[in-house]
Structures are given as C-alpha cells and as structure tokens.
Amino acid sequence: MERKVSANDKQFISFTLGQENFGLDVMMIESVERMSSITPVPKTPNYVLGVTNIRGDIIPIINLRKRLGMDDKEYDDDTRIIICNFDDYRIGLVVDLVKDVITISEENIQSSEGIFQDRKNDFISKIIELDGNYILALDLEKTLDIGE
C-alpha cells in the first residue's frame, strides 16, 4: 500500500455501517471518540441522539444509521463517534467501526451523479474506488440537512 502522496491526492477516513464502506474527507474530521453517555434533546428529529460532553465542549450527536435510513444497531466495543467540524458546525456521527485513513488519487474518485436513483442515497456525493472495492463518500452538508 506504500504510495507516494501527490498534490492531487485526497485523504479520507473510512468507516462502516453494516456491510457498507463509507468515507469522509479528513479535512472535516476533528477526532474519533469512543461512545459516551448521551443526553437526549427534546424536539429534535429522531436521528439526533442528543448531546455529549467531549472534553468540556457540548457536541450534538447524530445516529448515522437512522439518518441514512438503515436499521438501528446496538452499540458495541467498535462503535465510534466521528467528530466533524464543518462550516462552524461541530457534530458527532455514530458509526459501527472506524477502519483507516486512506489516501486516494483524484482519478479514483468519481461523482455519484446519475448513479443512484433512490433519494435515500442523496447523501452520497462521490464514489471512491480502492483496490477493487467501493467506498461511498458522504456529503456532510446534505447529511446534516444544513445550508438550505
């Protein structure tokens, strides 16, 4: 896997939800945390789990499975919260397992436009090819339903 990093390369953090591999641009990632106690917040959408305390800061936490229309799953030792910092929003995403940080060259990234028909896949902006496998890159803006 040793490859030279070039200017056209992008780094993604890869994680799984069920059987599928997802990716998020590392530029938006602040940290990866273990699951901690979450305080529910009333009058929020069902995929908002609540808020948690990450080293003195209060961070809203989103159940990514629910947000992407997948079945819920019990938390286990692999469950992680990915803290994203995006356009002044700081939000934690609960994922099944965080795998790796991967470096991808531009030619292996493809826009997802015209590939998916189901609206539930609007959250995917790009598809990354890595060693014959496909990783779905999340569009945070759409996932969080912000910027509208």
Binding site: S37, T39, V41, T52, I58, P60
Partner: protein, 655 residues
C-alpha cells in the same frame, strides 16, 4: 445636560484620535506617498477639531485647524511630505496630547504657549531648526530626582558636575562613532549622568552636530578639555560647571511634588475625576471568562468527589476553593459590566430630533441609567431600543392638537426605564400615546397577505401582537421617514431573542403602549435548580424560580381541559414538564403528593411538574452549538460534576 460628561467622553475619544495621529504620522514617515495615512490623519484632526470646537477648547481647535490646512495641501499635492513637516505634525500631536491631559485633569485647557507651534504650522519650511534644538537642550537640562541625588552625593565627595557641549565638524561622517569616543574619553574622568539627546539617539545618529553631556568628575576642567579636543573631527568643546543649577532644580522638583499633592487633593473632589481605566479587548475578557467557567466545572466535579470521601481537611479546603472560585467569577463578571447609560446617553438627542421632524411635543424620562449590564448587551441593544423609541414617537404619541382634543397634556411622555429583576435586566419603553389598535393591525396583516381573513377572526390579542413582529409588517399608513419602513419590529424581536432575551407588549387603546425587553444579566454562569424528569437532569435558572411546593393531586383542578392549581389565592396554570419535553413519564400519577416548581416569567406565574428535586448548583452555560440552535425551550446545556450533560430550560419560552 451636564458638560462634564461630555468632557469625559471627549477625553476618552480624543485619546484614540491622538493615537491615530501618531500611528499614521509614523507610517507616513516611512512612506511619504501614503495618501491613505494622510487621509486618516486628516480625519482624526478634523474629528478632534469638531469635538474641541463644541466644547470651547480653543487651543486644540486652533492647532487641529492649522493641521488640517497643511494636510489639505498635501492631499492636493501643493506641499511635499518632508521629515521636517512630520516632526512638526508630531509635535502638534504631542501638544494636543498634553492639552487633552489638561482637560482630563482640570476639566479645561490650561494656558500653554502654542504661538511658536502655530507659526511653524503656518509656514513649516522657513521655521528655524536651531530654535527647536535649543529648546530641547533647555528642556533636557532638567534632571530627575535620581540624577540630582547622584550629583548631590558626588558633590559631597568633592566631585564637580560639568555641562560639556561638544560640536562635531559638519564634515564628520561617522557621528555616532565620534560621539562614542567622546563618551569613552569622558568616562576616564568620571561618570556621565546624562546626555542630550539621549544616548540611544546619539547612537542612532539622531542629532545634528552638537550634543551635551553632564559629567560628574574630579575638578580637572583643563585636562578634560584637552583630552576631548584631542579627538579628531571635533569642532569645539565647551565645558562649564553646572552646580548653580542644583538648588533651583531641586526646588522645581519640590514644586512638582506639591503640585502632585494638589492634584491628588483635587482628585478627591467629585468633579474632575481622572479616568483611571484601561481599555481591554473584549476577546481577552471572554477568554478569561471561559477559563473561569472551566474552573467552576472542575470545582463542581471535585465537590462531587469530596462529598464521597468525607475527610474534614478536604471538605474545608473544598469550601475555600469554592468561595475563591465564586469570587473570581463575580469579579470577572463585574469587569464586563457597564452602566446602560452608555447606550441611553444618545437618546435625548434622537428623541429631540424625532419630535421636531414629526411636529410633536415629547418629554423623555430616563430612569435607571446606572443599571449595569454585560458589555456584549451594550453593543447590541442600541439599535433595537432606538427602533422602539422611534415607534413610540412615530406611531404612539399623537400630535398636540389631537392630544388636547382627547383631554391629554399636549406634551407626550416617553419613559425609558431600566432595572434589574433577578438575573434579568429589564428595559421598558413606555409612551402615553394612542395605544395599539388591534383591528388596524389585523387589517394591515390581511392586506399584506400575512394571514387570511378566516384565520384573522380567530386571533386572540396576543396573536395579534405577534403579527406585529412578523417580517414585512408595518402599521403606518404611509411609509414615513422615521419608522414604518418595513424593516421594523421583526428585526427588533430577532435581535433581542438572539441575546437570549424576550420582548413583551402591553397596550391600552387611548392610554399608551409599553414595550418590555427582558435580557439575561449574565451570559455564562448562573445559579440553577437541578431537577430530574424521567431519569434526565434538567437545570432551571434559579432567578426564574419563585418557590418549590408540594401539593396533593386532588388540588389540581381541570378547567376546560387545562390543569390549574391555586397558588397564594390565585389560579395559575400547571405545566407538565415531561409533556412539554416530549419525554415519556416512567411513573404514572400514582403519587398522592406531587412536587411543583413555581416559576415566574415576568409577572406571570406557572407551576412545573417535576420528578425529583436534586438541588441547587452553580452551572456554566454552554451553547448547544449551531446545529441545535433553534430548539425553543432549551436555552443551553451545562456539564455536571460527573461529566454528563444537563439541558437548561428556557423558562421564558416554556408554556
């Protein structure tokens, strides 16, 4: 109006302008083509002139006026920027600074001789340079107390102070090096007490051909003379004893000391108080505040820990820590507090102008101008208040003829009242005008398409008032100059809510309208009551809590489907917290006795059902962040001693 207040304001602002003058002159010195700097200098001088003019400070006005003339010539490229010109302008700045200092100390300008400066300003090219140097020398001859004491001590040991004037040859190239040699040679004989110009300036060659030394040496004048003259490129060396100066100088210093005492005595008087304040960037205060917040969170955690292992020494020290932390918090909060006067001060003028424009007669009463509020509120509250005032004058107060017809005083009254209420600061804008006509609001809203006629007929008074705060609403039949431009009350409301505040309206047709703005006093740490509802902990700001009561279930009555209780002889609504928060209640209503928290929302009371009472605690308010910013009934969150997050209820928006 009290002139002193303007003097204070002038003193504070002019310091800033003088700083601008200094900074930009220095920039101009580096880049003489920097027109932007010239403009900045011009603006600052012009503003100073304006302010000084209105306060009758003639010297400042004269100087700034002449500065303006020169700067104007520079702008129009009639004059070139020379270093000489900059020196003169800087000298002006220094004089201005001194004059402003006089104003601060004495409340007026003192007589200072500025004719020299003014003539230089009028014709900067032909002004004699030598005069400045000479002046500087005389000024430089003044010794400070330490130098005098060294000389006195030296004289007691038989040493003599000499003033030495050294003139270098005009052709001399390395002036600083020559001067250094003079210094070295002099130090063979004794100690150099002082030099004019300052040693540093001499090292940087910031002198013409001549410099002066005050040398404390053995009485060996001829020897010193010949030794110094032997250095090459020296034009002349003049030495004279300086002892005659001493007594006079000492007297001067004594004079100064007594003057200082005088000043201090004056300072005790109420009128000429010297501004003993510094300006601090608000961000630094925020940082300090954040650190205090962190400290209080850790303190709470430690309190939790220490209560579990009861060691008397630990408990004692915890209490101490707790007290210090609280005092620290109070102190930091106080630093951020400023009298609301800072905002109110500009309103009399605003009201006067508005009254004139609308041909109305209006008296403005300001009450509670000394009420202190957080600095961040001061910055934000001005515009909304001006809008409310405009609204009161434009829409509220009637024309004098109309007022006479309805039997009112032809002069309308607008009250601007500020006061503290618990952890809130309340600002009221009250007029005795015509009041709000509900029907005209409804009509206007219908014509603007904000609601349908069907819906309009079902609106209560409160809903109608809410319409007024809708974007794009304006009750004025014609768009006037003053208000009614459509960007009205909705902006006011948004702004107040953004500060965590609330606006209420009370109105009576024909009698007047009262706008009540309620703002949080402190923005970050509050005392709160912690309660548990279905295993979740919530914080209620203690300032909103009236009382905690136990009542039996049978005392809860249902009126038209809504639960109420009797509290101190009056009916108040019962609010089921778990229902408001949309969380399931795990215990049914089996308990015969329920605990209620009576909360006050302005003047109105209501009772909240809670699960368990946990206790009172100081909490640090943290924001839920941008993503969850629009949850109305939660105003923020706090971190508990065990690291969990508890939500803070926004009582003003609850039920």
């Amino acid at each position: 109006m009290d002139n002193n207040r303007y003097m204070d304001l002038f003193a504070e602002e002019s310091k800033e302008h003088i700083q601008v003058l200094n900074d930009n002159l220095l920039e101009l010195e580096v880049d003489t083509n920097n027109l932007e700097a010239v403009n900045e200098i011009f603006r600052a001088a012009h503003t100073l002139k304006g302010m000084a003019g209105t306060l009758g400070l003639h010297l400042i006005t004269d100087i700034t006026h002449n500065m303006e003339n020169i700067l104007d010539d520079i702008r129009n490229q009639k004059k070139e920027v020379t270093s000489q010109l900059i020196d003169i302008l800087l000298e002006c700045t220094d004089t201005l600074d001194a004059l402003v200092q006089d104003v601060i100390e004495f409340g007026r300008e003192r007589d200072r001789d500025v004719t020299d400066l003014l003539s230089k300003l009028k014709d900067p090219i032909t002004s004699p340079i030598d005069a400045t140097t000479k002046q500087e020398f005389e000024k430089g001859m003044e010794l400070d107390e330490y130098q005098l004491s060294v000389i006195t001590a030296g004289m007691e040991q038989g040493l003599t102070p000499y003033w030495i004037e050294v003139r270098l040859q005009p052709t001399c190239l390395l002036k600083a090096a020559r001067a250094y040699m003079v210094f070295q040679a002099s130090e063979i004989f004794g100690e150099i007490i002082k030099s004019v110009p300052h040693v540093q300036d001499i090292e940087e060659e910031k002198f013409e051909d001549t410099f002066y030394l005050l040398l404390l040496a053995k009485d060996d004048q001829a020897n010193i003379q010949s030794r110094l003259e032997s250095i090459s490129e020296i034009d002349s060396v003049k030495i004279k004893k300086a002892e005659y100066n001493l007594e006079k100088s000492f007297k001067k210093i004594e004079d100064k000391n007594t003057k200082i005492e005088d000043k201090q005595q004056k300072n005790n008087g109420p009128s000429h108080r010297q501004a003993r304040s510094i300006r601090v960037d608000i961000e630094r205060l925020d940082l300090l505040m954040n650190l205090v917040s962190e400290l209080i969170i850790i303190k709470n955690t430690m309190e939790d820990l220490s209560s579990n292992n009861a060691d008397s020494g630990m408990t004692e020290n915890m209490e101490y820590l707790s007290r210090v932390a609280n005092e620290l918090h109070d102190a930091v909060m106080k630093v951020r507090m400023v009298p609301i006067e800072m905002v109110f001060n500009r309103f009399p003028r605003v009201v006067r102008d508005l009254a004139k424009n609308t041909h109305k007669r209006i008296k403005l009463n300001i009450v509670g101008a000394d009420t202190e509020v957080d600095r961040t509120i001061i910055d934000e509250i001005g515009d909304p208040l001006i809008h409310l005032l405009r609204n009161a004058i434009d829409h509220g107060i009637e024309l004098p003829e109309e007022r006479i017809k309805t039997g009112k005083d032809p002069e309308g009254t607008v009250d601007l009242i500020a006061y503290h209420d618990g952890n809130n600061v309340v600002i009221e804008v009250k007029d005795d005008g015509r009041g709000i006509n509900y029907q005209s609001i409804v009509d206007s809203a219908i014509s603007k398409g904000l609601i349908t006629e069907d819906k309009a007929s079902q609106l209560g008074e409160k809903d109608i008032i809410d319409l007024m705060f809708q974007p794009g609403f304006s009750t004025a039949e014609s768009v006037s100059d003053i208000s009614g431009r459509g960007v009205g009350m909705d902006v006011v409301k948004t702004k107040i809510e953004a500060m965590g505040g609330l606006i209420e309206v009370e109105t009576e047709l024909g009698k007047g309208t009262r706008f009540i703005v309620r703002l949080p006093l402190t923005l970050s740490i509050i005392q709160a009551l912690l309660v548990e509802v279905s295993n979740e902990i919530f914080a209620i700001p203690l300032s909103s809590v009236q009382e905690i009561i136990d009542i039996s279930l049978s005392d809860v009555k249902v009126l038209r489907g809504e639960e109420v209780i009797t509290y101190r002889g009056a009916l108040i609504p019962l609010v089921r917290l778990e229902r408001e928060l949309e969380i399931e209640s795990d215990k049914g209503s089996k308990d015969e006795v329920i605990t209620l928290v009576v909360i006050k929302k302005g003047e109105k009371l209501s009772a909240l059902t809670i699960g368990d009472l946990i206790g009172q605690q100081e909490i640090v308010i943290k924001s839920l962040g941008k993503y969850l910013s629009n949850i109305k009934i939660i105003s923020g969150a706090t971190i508990l001693g065990d690291g969990r997050v508890a939500l803070i209820l926004d009582i003003n928006r609850l039920a």
